[in-house]
Symmetry: C2
Subunit: 345 residues, 2 copies
């Protein structure tokens, strides 16, 4: 099972909205299809979105008819803008597009630029997959044998088009023989935990219990949670972390119960241009996702509902940020600058 697979002139993706009921694959050959798949969360998870827009831009490039480099670049810019407009929060999306655009700037042979874009998209995919495997190995050291780990949303192979971030860390520790138990939060409104994390944990044979988001405090107060580990959508220079809505609540609860709270993310999720989490744009999604579950109304018609997709966890709640460059601890600004320079530039 692969989240995203490049097939030469199209991309095969697992439709994450159909899980766990159906394992349905889509083959997308137009960048507009990639954009729609991201908008509709058929492709989701910050690293996977980054990989998808890389391929999306390559698909867009393949469809451009002109042989003139300037015209090609102008048309490609429109493709990039469309892909950038899908979702505002995940840093990986913008980083992948920036990287692809840098490649498009070089060369005067349109066919060669197209090939270079395909190669770059594949490279982004490979590097993101390697990064998540590497950070998972590093992070696994933090998980103690016999411990119970609470995780939120979905951060496995599907979310990353690679090995996984938070779930990758759990997976590495488990595969190295540590006895672990996982609490997976269902993650309302879109139930990525119940639908996807539960499905991945079941496949990986890692023992777990599904809980509603509101149960985390209950189990922490009973001493049944040893640490929390989550992924990230964007991390500011000071370590403030935007992640799936509900993450902040888990961080506050973890602090209250003196439980370590870890963030696991590739360096591509870090946005050193933002001084703090206050600057991270938070996507507001349709209220229908709150008032309906899988198309069924769960609330009276015509009411107001809020639907921020992410929240920001200030650095003071974060015990460590696990990246492929290393495990970063306070003061985050220094650590991020160091690892960022070493690995990314």
């Amino acid at each position: 099972m692969k989240a995203i697979e490049w097939l030469g002139d199209r991309v095969k993706v697992l439709d994450q909205t159909k899980l766990p009921i159906k394992e349905a694959y889509l083959e997308l050959s137009r960048y507009q299809d990639i954009a729609s798949a991201i908008l509709e969360l058929k492709i989701r998870g910050a690293p996977a979105i980054g990989v998808a827009v890389g391929y999306g831009l390559a698909l867009g490039a393949l469809k451009i008819k002109t042989g003139t480099p300037d015209n090609f670049r102008r048309e490609l810019k429109a493709v990039s803008r469309a892909l950038a407009a899908t979702r505002p929060t995940a840093r990986n999306l913008f980083r992948a597009l920036e990287r692809m655009e840098r490649v498009a700037e070089k060369g005067e042979d349109v066919e060669r630029i197209k090939q270079a874009l395909i190669n770059e998209a594949i490279a982004i995919h490979n590097e993101e997959a390697e990064a998540t495997l590497k950070l998972s190995k590093l992070g696994a050291e933090l998980l103690k044998d016999g411990s119970t780990i609470l995780t939120h949303c979905n951060t496995g192979p599907l979310a990353t088009a690679g090995y996984g971030t938070a779930l990758g860390v759990i997976r590495q520790a488990f595969e190295h023989g540590k006895k672990l138990k996982v609490f997976a939060t269902e993650t309302r409104p879109l139930l990525q935990g119940a639908r996807i994390t539960a499905w991945e944990l079941k496949q990986l044979k890692i023992p777990f219990t599904l809980i509603t988001d509101s149960m985390a405090g209950y189990f922490m107060s009973k001493g049944e949670v040893d640490c929390v580990i989550v992924g990230a959508d964007r991390i500011a220079l000071n370590g403030d972390t935007a992640n799936k809505l509900g993450t902040y609540t888990l961080a506050v609860l973890a602090k209250e119960h003196a439980i370590p709270f870890y963030v696991a993310a590739p360096l591509t999720t870090i946005d050193p241009a933002l001084a703090s989490g206050d600057e991270i744009p938070i996507e507001q999604r349709s209220p229908d996702e709150v008032t309906h579950i899988q198309g069924v109304a769960i609330a009276p018609a015509g009411i107001e509902a809020a639907n921020p997709a992410f929240d920001v966890t200030p650095n003071k709640y974060i015990t460590a940020i696990i990246t492929e460059g290393g495990i970063i601890r306070e003061p985050y600004g220094e650590g991020i600058k160091k690892y960022f320079r070493e690995v990314i530039t």
Copy 2:
């Protein structure tokens, strides 16, 4: 619209599991039907459960054939045990049964005892309704004009078979001209907030926004919540409060953001026999309520899911407990003893 209505030889109840899709009423004439309705949450909310078992015991009494008081009392005891076995946490249930049993102990004419039981059940209903109106009036003083109040689960007329507890306080403040806005949490797993509170707030024309349970932290961190008010299922002598799962998390979040956290409940919810919340029995319900929403699977088949129905909020997180006897503040033990003696005994 009445949650529970006594019709002389049967009870008419609004089936709360069908809301907001249908306003369906049931007419129940056997105590077993009352027990099933409580088990299946067709009747729910601690005060409403108390009222329902009062009528349930009266219905059970009416069906007993014997004219011998001793036999009558023996058979009635079995009815009481069946009603007591429905749900373990709400104190109101046990208090109502104890009160009914005291009435059954008096007198030697079975027909007269039956009538006395009916009268007592009606009295319990009336007193519970009066208590919730009174505590709502007292509590309304705590809500500031122009403020935004976050509430959890459902605590209105349906939950109380009266005026409401937390929602009653909000309602009183609103009806007295205070400009209020409400955040109503959906309250997973059974969505009492999305289904019932939203329905009641809409009917009452109180402005509100439905949020998932995991959004409370987000809005508190943005400074958009001025206070939290919840109901209770059982309050120990020291003020520790069992309420719908998720309440504890809201209390921790409120403390972290220095937001007042109020509990509103009639004195019948207080259990002075329990020294602390550790002694409150917490109902564990079926995992199916977590893995399915309105009958639709939201998680892979065959996985483990937890479903504690309540959690306990320690007294240190509670700013005040609003009862019909008065507003109780720290030290709770003293306040509870005082008001309890004055009003209940």
